[in-house]
Amino acid sequence: MSVLHIMVLIPFAFALLVPFLYKMFTPRIHTGWFVLLVPLTIFLYLLRYVPVISQGRTIQIHVPWMPSFGINYSTYIDGLSLIFGLLISGIGALVILYSIYYLSKHREALHNFYVYILLFMGAMLGVVFSDNVMVLYVFWELTSISSFLLIAYWYQRERSRYGAQKSMLITIFGGLAMLAGLIMLSMITDTYSIREMISQIELIHSHAFFLPAMFLILIGAFTKSAQFPFSIWLPDAMEAPTPISAYLHSATMVKAGIYLVARFTPVFGGTAEWFWLVSAAGIITLLYGSINAVKQTDLKALLAFSTISQLGLIMSLFGLGSAALYFGAGDDSSMYAVATLAAIFHLINHSTFKGSLFMVVGIIDHETGTRDIRRLGGLINLMPISFTLTLIGSFSMAGLPPFNGFLSKEMFFTAVLNASNMSVFNMESLGILVPVIAWIASVFTFIYCMILVFKTFFGKYKPDKLDKIAHEPPIGMLISPAVLASLVILIFFFPNVLSDYLLKPAVAAVLPSLAQGSLIDIKISAWHGFNAELFMTIGVVLLGSVLYVTLKKWKGIYRYYPETLTLNHFYNNFLEGGEGVSRSLTNRYMTGYIRDYLIYIFGFLIIMVGGSLLSLNAIAYNPANDAPITLYEWALIIAMVIVALTIVLSRSRLTAIIALGGLGYLVSMLFVVFRAPDLALTQLVVETVTTALFLLCFYHLPKYFKGNGRVPFKPLNLVISVGVGAVVALFALSADGNRLFEPIAGYYENSYELAGARNIVNAILVDFRGIDTMLEIFVLCIAALGVYLLIKFEMKGRE
């Protein structure tokens, strides 16, 4: 196990400590200070890899976990996973620092919060560093689960629970689809390792499962990254505390889908299907998100839709960039590789400016008591620092200089213009659409960025509409957004430092065929002269400004869009309809009568066991090895039959229960005859205790039959009871009659040498098959707690 493996596991281990730290130090020390150490350590550790990775090397460390199933906990670091690792730990540290001031140590359940966030951090690191797809999948679902827990952190609110459920349903659905896709890939390539899959690209591309696998994996990626039409969960996820929105729902978790697309680009890329699916989903999401963001009145909802739109942008860039794989090495491909470079560049930029914007919106919410832009306004004099940070963040998002968003937006325009000139994948006819949609979406992006700045900080200050008097937050709350905002500016001035150390290795990871031997050579610069990209940006600013100024005049058109056609409407209807259908279906068979349930269980037993006995041709009776039946045995069996009949025919419960106990005693006598003292003893005591239990339970029940009427004859019950008896008897005889393998009894006879025990039964129980026993007592424990809870809760309900 290497240090890197341990780094992934540290958050999980630390999560175990959090409740104790919380108990011991609250309210003296905010739990967040301890938790802060975790991402800081990981971040500093990962920085060590930057020089290695920037030379184009990759590191793979292999730790066998379940080698017989091909499931290994292998970690893999290349440019792509390193960028994600740094984002996860770096932004994680900033978010935790911010949360220390955001969440009150007196009122909030901090231990829950930090346990969830550490779970998430570990899971997310696991996703990006795993090479094994099964391990990746487990971590992937764990991010969904921790996101669910974090959205529902304020579980008292109905909206939180709704949002949490929505995100859970959609992302887990996608995760399961992805699992199916990953299994298909592993069926094609006979490996779970992504590295080894990439080395078998030709095999994958020619296989019949190629398209289904691609489609399913993309569903996983699109649901996670909130791509249209799965995007609806993200706005509702904004019910989470703002540090979480900044961390999971803008900077890291929603980028897991993008990571997956980037990671599998070498496998699927270079084909028309991948190119179109990824690009189109991205472009549509870009447009959908930006248009919807403009009509929002809640600042966080606005940011949520803007995140959706920006994720679409990054996704479409990865789609466009995948074309480079089609061309192989050469000038053509490096033209399209600009798109991939822009995607990774914008991914980092988006994390910086969106993270800081979320944090500032959290500050505004925290210090004014509202996020509604209709109630906000004129805060510029009261919160000048927050204003500056918002300005930096949103102008970067709008794509204006001197902020990093400008650079990646320009590269985005370059990429879409290149793509429109492409002569493959039917781009000759449809290509022109790409830059047009991208440009329109950018105009809307510009508008909502302006709304964010001007509606909040300019205009008239309305103190009567606010719950609190607006003021600057404590300095600690401003540190994190300020760090991110200064990164926004720094990256603008020194983009090539970032590019040389991180972006180019990442591009090499996404487009491996391009980087055979050397890394691609693209310089990022702010000034390219008066070219098409610059004019596109100028056009965006001009049209955007005009539309922003006239916003009131045309905003009404949003109302013309019918409510019944929104995705949320479909989702809610589907959920309600689904609940209704499943309720009526369940009510049909869950009758509440135990006899009905017994019919299901026994019917199933007859069909499955009897059916497989028949279909496998397994019925066999071979009395050759049987010992003769002695007189004692005959006597015992006849007695057992008599007692069994007594149970069935007796008119009182007490008689039946005592007869049942008697039957058990007779069985244990049979064990004695067969020289199995352990079994006999156990059976005796079990019978005694259960009879006592039955007596306790049945003591309070009414007499058997209310009237003196006869029990009605029920043919189904007859069939079931005879069937169960016949099937079990057949099963036992066949098990004895079929000797497929050598008996292993001989092994256990050495129990004295192997386990130091002369009692073979006990040696089997505690030593040879100890794990069975352990799980059995687990079952016992769960059963005891179940009975206890059922009774306690019922008693509480009665009171």
Binding site: P677, D678, L681, T682, V685, V686, T688, V689, A692, L693, L696, C697, H700, A755, G756, A757, R758, N759, V761, N762, A763, L765, V766, D767, G770, I771, T773, M774, I777, F778, L780, C781, A783, A784, L785, V787, Y788, I791, K792, E794, M795
Partner: protein, 141 residues
Amino acid sequence: MKEPNDVILRSVTKVAVLIILTFAINLFFSGHHNPGGGFIGGLAFASALTLLFLCYDIETVRENIPVDFKAVTAVGVLISVFTGIGGIIFDRPFLTQAFDYFQLPLFGKTELATAVLFDIGVAMAVIGTAITIISSISEDR
């Protein structure tokens, strides 16, 4: 329970419970080489307590044996899990049991086995489960 005249039952119980408990412990320890073991020993122990529940009312028993049997179950399960982890510490598979022979004062040459620790966990889980179920059901009036 109701109040019938059960003097005989109570007198017998007082003696019988002691005998059953002793027998249960004997069963537990003899399990290594003779019939018995954690499961059966635990059950026999539980049956003695059940007898107490039957002939005295539940509050009396609870006052005299102030043990939370839910905790006994949990502790039992934990003990058996931890003895399993012991194997991992010595770089063996989970739940590997070890035994050896020692020269002890009074007992002479004695076999000590980690399996007994595991068995203690089993016995505690069985006792806890049985008593938890019985006492919660009989409490539910």
